[in-house]
């Protein structure tokens, strides 16, 4: 018997697993150009701030691509992590806005106004860490991730998944909302934490600050896309796909499955948390209406519209759905819910892979054919009909 191994290895020395394929680099370039150059040039300050707000949801959608699209874990509680990240940031900003000087008319100066209204006379213990900016920046990510770890570890160890996990995450979103609304004195209640002014002395309400924050947000989003891309093309990304398909086979290939699912869920939580913190900074408040069931499931539709398997698709989907929402609810508020409902049904029934799927299946093959036809002279003999594409 000959030894075919050496002959074979020679033929595979080309990198068959690049960080990004040319098409993906192009997509990234296009997205970065639109977010960081085209939109800032084309839109006024108000509209740009609005786009910045939409883009904070794109962080959540990005996490859902890894967690739902790749690992098959549908979370209906991403608002929880978005909210926790946002609240952590809001607590810091609120404390800075509630200096003794600013709040000297209160019966207890130096604490947030809503605490004073609710007859609370000292800052609660869990507000204390948010006096420090470095600690806050750490907690913005750490609190949601630890919470995600707690939820997912308990459940994935017991092999809970699928619809069951979705229901539990939804219940957690509901519980957290009721808790925040009910504990008005500690959380600001239904109004949330409002009247935020400065970040470490820098006024975030000015137009200049809003523009700067928009670019910080855009940069962070690109960074998160790159991080997600790293995970996606690593062996871990392929294990997640394998898990979604045949969990038992992965388990009997020697993997402790729970750890991988926990990782995917926590990564999604971390992305959502960054989005939440950027939301607070750009919009200037945080409230329970971004935590509950409705926003959580709406964030899933952004991912579904864009394409649950595409990082770039998720960002485009977020922008598109929010743009539609703003446009429709300004002019035809009655129609919007019909439209959103139809979007949920239509995407699931007709386009399960969203816009990215449409692009990949319909547009990209056509484009490649065009490009090839332009490059090469027309062949003398027509290829057989239905020949498989390369």
């Amino acid at each position: 018997m000959t030894n075919p191994v050496q002959a074979l290895t020679k033929s595979v020395t080309v990198n068959d697993n690049p960080f990004m394929k040319p098409m993906e680099w192009l997509s990234l370039l296009l997205l970065a150009a639109v977010i960081l150059v085209v939109l800032p040039l084309a839109l006024d300050g108000f509209r740009l701030n609005l786009v910045g707000k939409y883009l904070t949801y794109a962080f959540v959608a990005l996490g859902l691509v890894i967690c739902w699209g790749y690992a098959g874990i549908l979370s209906l509680g991403q608002g929880v992590f978005f909210g926790l990240g946002g609240y952590c940031m809001a607590m810091y900003l609120k404390l800075e806005a509630s200096s003794v000087e600013n709040t000297k008319i209160q019966s207890t100066p130096g604490i947030p106004d809503f605490m004073d209204w609710n007859q609370i006379t000292a800052l609660p213990w869990f507000w204390q860490p948010f006096k420090s900016l470095p600690l806050t920046l750490l907690l913005v990510v750490a609190v949601p991730v630890l919470f995600a770890l707690l939820i997912s570890f308990a459940m994935f160890k017991r092999r809970v998944g699928g619809t069951y996990f979705a229901i539990i995450t939804q219940a957690i979103a509901a519980i957290l909302t009721i808790l925040i609304v009910g504990q008005q004195g500690y959380t600001g209640g239904i109004n949330g934490i409002t009247d935020l002014r400065t970040l470490h002395g820098w006024d975030i309400r000015t137009n200049h600050a809003k523009t700067v924050l928009y670019f910080v947000n855009g940069g962070l989003l690109v960074a998160c896309i790159l991080a997600a891309q790293y995970v996606k093309r690593s062996k871990l990304g392929r294990i997640l796909v394998a898990l979604r398909d045949k969990e038992d086979r992965v388990r009997f290939s020697g993997y402790s499955v729970a750890g991988f699912k926990v990782f995917a869920f926590c990564l999604a939580a971390a992305f959502a948390a960054v989005g939440g913190a950027m939301f607070t900074l750009q919009v200037g408040f945080m409230s329970p209406s971004f935590v509950g069931i409705v926003p959580s499931i709406e964030m899933v539709i952004y991912t579904a519209v864009g394409g649950r398997l595409s990082l770039f698709g998720a960002v485009w989907g977020t922008l598109l759905v929010n743009w539609a929402k703003t446009t429709f609810s300004e002019s035809f508020p009655e129609l919007w819910l019909f439209g959103l409902g139809a979007l949920f049904i239509g995407v699931v029934l007709a386009f399960p892979n969203g816009l990215a799927g449409l692009w990949r299946e319909r547009i990209e093959p056509r484009l490649t054919r065009r490009v090839k036809a332009l490059r090469a002279p027309p062949p003398a003999i027509a290829p057989p009909h239905g020949a498989p594409a390369a």
């Binding site: 939820i151 619809t163 229901i167 519980i175 819910l337 049904i345 699931v348 029934l349």
Partner: protein, 308 residues
Amino acid sequence: MFGDYSLGDLGAIFAMQGFAGLILFSVYLLMALGLAIIFGQMGVINMAHGEFMILGAYVTYLCSTFFQSYLPGLFPISFFVAMGLAFLASGALGMLVEWGLIRFLYKRPLDTLLATWGLSLILQQAYRSIFGAREVGVELPAWLIGSVQVTDTIEVPINGLFVMAVTLLITGAVALLIFRSRFGQQMRAVMANRAMAGAVGIDTDKVDRTTFGLGCGIAGVAGSAFTMIGSTGPTSGQLYIVDTFLIVVFGGAASLVGTIASAFSISQTQSTLEFFLSGSMAKVLTLLAVVGILMLRPQGLFTLKVRR
């Protein structure tokens, strides 16, 4: 905590609280029954379940308004007519939805969840467009108003008693239907082994459609019963969806006894806690306890151990 109350007062308070808990139990059980059939038997997550309930409530509202205007003599029994109509309306809509949407998604449970959420948004907006954003109430006939004086300090409202009686009746009917009727037998056969059931000549598509319709119809009856103790708005259904799913899951998804036990324990816990804490904290603690137990015991209260 109990210092301010005499022993008799305490007893009365607990009795009243217990009764409030029983009404809550009826409400939860009615909501969960339809879902237990759809989710427990078919494994389908219907996020629009609350909206099917609300449809029943609106049908009841229309029906009682109609009786008041045109057949005032028969108004006292309008509720019974309304309940039948609510069942038919929600059931018919359910079968339509199964035919037009659900049947394409049986192999994709997570997608069913998203699609039915879309459906719930559409239904909510439809209710808002037709009935207005404000909540509507159903006027009760005279015989449902008032309360029964049990002792000096304990009195129970008649409408609450009536809802409890309706719950008892429907639960009994569902149990009979599942465990005694031919349809129930077919339904259980399809859920146990779809291929085999098909092979022995059961029309599985028809069973699916009827099962889904039945679950939705029961939701409609539940909605109808609720009009006796509360008002109805376009988004009322959404408020219940989390509780309802938790009850079904907590009970062990495929078990009717489990659903009853779970509705009972959750409602009693919540109404007892409400006495000591604010309403929102009682709710938070109850739901947290349920979620916590489900994390440790995901199979719920009642399950069978079977070979995978």
